[in-house]
Symmetry: C2
Subunit: 289 residues, 2 copies
């Protein structure tokens, strides 16, 4: 079997063809995400039409929570066009269509071909501009009652310090994300113009203030991992996304295991690559588990 993977993000849309081993077997195509509902639907149709003869199923990895039937987006997705939720993905083509949340899909790719391969219970945290989450329990993607489980919006410092993108306050995402690092840097340095690049650059130069800022950010990530390890008792926690490059997983693993009441876990970096979302959605769509 072959799947057409389509990864729908707030700024870019990617597509490619995936085989059952999770290999990318066609050139990866890249598009700017249209800001008009009819245009995004037309683009989807156009991409599908072009690959129709080489594939068995169309697999969307998308921002937003996806229902348990894997047919539609059920949450609001601030970064995407208004009305995105109304898209009936299965009406775009005569092919079988499968939709999954992008972080969930990426977690599945790690589970099948990446860092958490062979481990029945894993949690993936995607540390980027925001924080995505995917949870695998007993070798199955965990979706909760409606499909929305795995949202990394649990509260840190719940005394209304930081507004979160979700509309509430003080969520893990508001601390552990790249945006969170900038905010932590602003708070500690008292400099509103400081950037995440300043922090990462300074860290490499062993600058004292930048190291302090980075360590505070990393310890907030640690605090989140400890909570997840106590709640889920997972085999591992996998870190992916652009910001994961900078964290010290050995430090996080050692500290986590010294503080949890459950059994030791691993903290690993993702290995399935930048297209893990498309690959995971493709594997799920083809029933590879």
């Amino acid at each position: 079997m072959k799947a057409l993977g389509i990864d729908v993000g707030g700024t870019k849309i990617y597509s490619t063809v995936i085989d059952e081993k999770g290999n990318i077997i066609s050139e990866v195509e890249k598009y700017s995400t249209p800001k008009v509902l009819e245009e995004i639907k037309s683009l989807f149709k156009e991409i599908i039409k072009r690959h129709e003869n080489e594939i068995d199923v169309v697999a969307f990895a998308t921002a937003g929570a996806v229902n348990n039937e894997n047919t539609k987006v059920i949450s609001s997705t601030g970064n995407l066009v208004e009305g995105y939720r109304t898209i009936e993905f299965d009406k775009l083509t005569n092919k079988k269509v499968f939709v999954e949340n992008d972080a969930n899909a990426a977690a599945w790719a790690e589970h099948i071909i990446g860092a958490s391969k062979g481990m029945p219970n894993s949690i993936m945290l995607t540390l980027g501009t925001g924080v995505g989450g995917g949870i695998i329990l007993n070798n199955k993607l965990f979706k909760g009652k409606s499909g929305a489980a795995g949202e990394m919006h649990f509260k840190m410092y719940p005394d209304k310090r930081r507004k979160c993108t979700c509309g509430s306050w003080d969520c893990f995402e508001a601390y552990a994300s790249g945006t969170g690092l900038k905010k932590t840097a602003e708070e500690i340095s008292k400099n509103p113009d400081i950037t995440t690049y300043d922090v990462i650059g300074g860290l490499e130069l062993k600058d004292e203030l930048m190291t302090k800022i980075f360590n505070k950010w990393q310890d907030d990530i640690l605090a989140g991992i400890i909570g997840l390890a106590n709640l889920f008792d997972p085999d591992c926690v996998v870190l992916s996304g652009s910001m994961s490059e900078f964290v010290n997983t050995q430090y996080l693993e050692n500290e986590t295991n010294s503080q949890i009441v459950t059994q030791p876990t691993k903290v690993l970096k993702a290995t399935a690559g930048n297209y893990a979302g498309m690959i995971g959605a493709g594997l799920l769509a083809m029933g590879v588990n």
Copy 2:
């Protein structure tokens, strides 16, 4: 089938016979928990011997994490006698023996005969001196890789404000428990002698300071519930334990649903009663699901 349920807590041990409907069908017996390993084992044998002829299986609901084979305790249990972990429960009798964590067992009782009956995904929080947790996912008790999942030790205010009983800092348990309420009361009132009774009593009299303290404590519980609802997307969160009596579940449910990114959940009080641990362990031991 009939099960002998034995609930092992830090100060008291209870036992009774349970039928497959979760009914208690013999007088509930109560003992002080022995502080010597050999004595606690002798007590278990004595209780079992007395009921041997009327039961099919012995079900322990115990403090501490229990392995996935339901045969032994795998975590340290500060409140119980040293060496408790070494007890081979299945060697105590020729009957079939089944061991489960007390909070997990109580969550199962709620799932089968209590507040979360008919709901596939539920989380139970037992608010007492500490905080216990039990998680039911897809109609199964969720245990994680080693059996220890569901520990409500995720961090609130992770800046080393409060030491937790688990040895780490700032866990939900240290805020949402009765002990947590006393600590919150001490911090807000600046009175080290204030008790939880003062707070609850003052709340009933609409005392301003006591109401402020209570609301802070309840809002910390709310913060925890919001995180759990975003992570697990459960059908409901069930509150049990002596401290749950005082919380306003309607407030918690409304606030939770106004702040989560997953689909609405319910916040309910437990209804399976004080012996839910024994009942749940008995039901699990008899395979009632």
